[in-house]
């Protein structure tokens, strides 16, 4: 159980996928304009990561080395398609807002990287802990970016207006450069904090 927590926390802070491993950044840049999209994207990515890691880890002994990558891709794309179909059926407005980025979870590097580097080598439970940590770490970062971008870009949070109507909105925050800048600031802050802690 200790190990479970260790790997779970590892994904959130020490090896945060976005701020530390620098993977999965494309979807962070693209989707993080509104908090609602961030939460949905985070949930979808976490679901796909956890399910694929669990399946890949449980098959790790029977999968021949030569075809492991194609098999990972089949597993990941299966779960992504399931998420896409379920969202279309039961959450049509959200699925519409996310558009192309749900199917694109297939090529999200976080999932592939965790499958190759972790799940294919470790037991099932630990792989699930790792995937859960990675998914939640991703969700936290993308939401933290989304909060700032939606607040300054549209003057609202979760489509609920917070700033006065006269606020015109910062175009810069709506464009991907806004997300780039925020990612940079967050990385700097995280590095600063962890350096101070180790001193």
């Amino acid at each position: 159980m200790n190990q479970f927590w260790y790997y779970f926390k590892n994904g959130i802070i020490n090896e945060n996928p976005v701020l530390r491993l620098m993977v999965g950044i494309c979807s962070v840049l693209a989707v993080s304009v509104k908090v609602e999209n961030c939460l949905a994207m985070g949930a979808a990515v976490t679901f796909v990561t956890v399910c694929s890691s669990a399946v890949i880890s449980s098959m790790r002994k029977i999968v021949p080395d030569e075809v492991r990558i194609p098999i990972f891709i089949v597993v990941i794309s299966t779960f992504t398609t399931i998420v896409d179909l379920v969202m279309k059926a039961y959450m049509p407005p959200l699925s519409k807002a996310m558009g192309i980025f749900i199917p694109l979870i297939v090529v999200n590097c976080i999932i592939m990287a965790r499958a190759e580097a972790f799940a294919s080598r470790k037991p099932v439970l630990i792989s699930i802990a790792d995937a859960l940590g990675m998914g939640i770490g991703y969700t936290l970062v993308i939401t933290a970016i989304g909060v700032v971008r939606e607040l300054f870009g549209y003057g609202s949070i979760l489509s609920f207006p917070l700033l006065p109507k006269t606020y015109k909105g910062m175009m810069f925050m709506v464009f991907p450069p806004g997300a780039f800048l925020l990612i940079g600031i967050y990385i700097a802050v995280l590095n600063h904090l962890s350096r101070r802690k180790s001193k």
């Binding site: 999209n37 029977i62 999968v63 399931i82 279309k88 059926a89 807002a97 558009g99 192309i100 980025f101």
Partner: protein, 189 residues
């Protein structure tokens, strides 16, 4: 020889299982997805054309009937006749137009009685979230509410483009022009 058989076999089994799983999920969700889009269409028809009491699907005339430029940029998908009792009061067009991220499908309601565009509704799009996706906002769509058909329908003349989303705005204007051309062709014949 032996490893090859094992590789092929494992890959085949994994793919079969994945396909079976997807087929099952598809079976469950298919009905809900279809119902959603049907319901959405009905609701949208009523919403953009409140004056009409019911809608009748009309089969589309063949593209060669007019010299309407059909193609990748613009296509007429479905046509509904709006009726109040027995009088025909207008049309709702379902059209596709090429946006920035793919095809945009939208409904355009035309009142032939008042010679006005009643409004439009975006059904599907893959535009950039936060920029092109603003074509669905009322701020943009209200420009088309009760707009006389004799207006020019030109970007930055009578239609304000969305900042940062010129291509998406152009796509919508192109759809309007396509529908207007279609109506004119029909009137001439």
């Amino acid at each position: 020889m032996k490893p090859m058989i094992k590789i092929t076999f494992t890959l085949a089994i994994v793919c079969t299982l994945a396909a079976a799983g997807l087929a099952a999920v598809n079976q469950v969700t298919q009905k809900a997805i279809k119902e959603n889009s049907q319901k959405e269409l009905q609701e949208s028809l009523v919403k953009i054309f409140p004056a009409a009491e019911h809608f009748e699907s009309v089969s589309l005339p063949t593209p060669s009937a007019g010299n309407l430029k059909e193609g990748k940029d613009f296509s007429l998908l479905e046509l509904y006749q709006a009726k109040q009792g027995d009088t025909k009061i207008g049309y709702v067009f379902k059209v596709g137009t090429q946006g920035y991220g793919g095809q945009i499908t939208l409904l355009i309601a035309i009142s032939t009685q008042d010679q006005k565009m009643m409004g439009m509704k975006i059904l599907e799009h893959q535009e950039t979230p936060g920029l092109g996706s603003e074509i669905t906002s009322s701020r943009f769509l209200n420009q088309f509410l009760e707009k006389p058909l004799t207006d020019p329908y030109q970007l930055n003349q009578d239609i304000q483009a969305l900042s940062g989303a010129t291509i998406s705005s152009k796509a919508i204007v192109r759809a309007c022009q396509g529908v207007l051309t279609f109506l004119k062709e029909g009137a001439n014949q």
